[in-house]
Symmetry: C2
Subunit: 119 residues, 2 copies
């Protein structure tokens, strides 16, 4: 079910590369990649979980409430992260020319469905 | 000049709160806030620079090239960061209901102008 949810998001985005459901230890619960060879999910997972934890600490410092979404764009990759709860998040990787707005929308839409299944 | 550039971006966005030109030590070079009282620029700067450095390390690990943009969204605040070069970045804070796409566009547009003045 999780894989289908991830695939549904990734495949709907031109330039969508991979989607991962992960816990904050960086351990993937499920993942889907269009090009399986491309993606080192363990590296992405470890990095993403460290970053999200750092950002959660930062938003607490700023008293800005719970972190909901994180994104970072580099020359060859866009990573979009949606926090589901205190344990899980979804990370989506896109090509830089992908439709970022659509990716955010799809991720926001699928998040409560995935969370409901996790419960 | 920097202040005008920051103000030009912040004031064009409904829900734009503040803009900061900073170095990666977290020291603000210039800042503009619509509501001066609201914003603790030193806290934001310190947090933002730590985060951007963490993200730069992560993108290096992922071999994804130079970090260009970072955003994080929490319940009460959106922070959008544009990396200018190895020394400076611009951080923009918005309300969660602000036009994120427009903010990204304006920040991308103003970045080379600010960078040209820094040189």
């Amino acid at each position: 079910m999780f894989k289908e949810a991830l695939q549904g998001v990734v495949d709907q985005i031109d330039g969508g590369m991979a989607g991962m459901l992960m816990d904050f230890e960086g351990i993937p619960l499920e993942m889907y990649a269009r090009d399986e060879d491309f993606f080192d999910v363990e590296v992405v997972g470890a990095e993403a979980s460290v970053l999200v934890k750092a950002i959660q600490r930062a938003t607490e410092m700023l008293e800005a409430g719970t972190t909901q979404e994180v994104s970072f764009t580099s020359e060859s990759l866009v990573t979009l992260i949606r926090v589901l709860d205190e344990t899980y998040f979804i990370a989506l990787t896109l090509r830089p020319d992908a439709n970022f707005g659509k990716a955010r929308y799809l991720l926001r839409t699928v998040a409560p469905k995935v969370l409901a299944e996790l419960a």
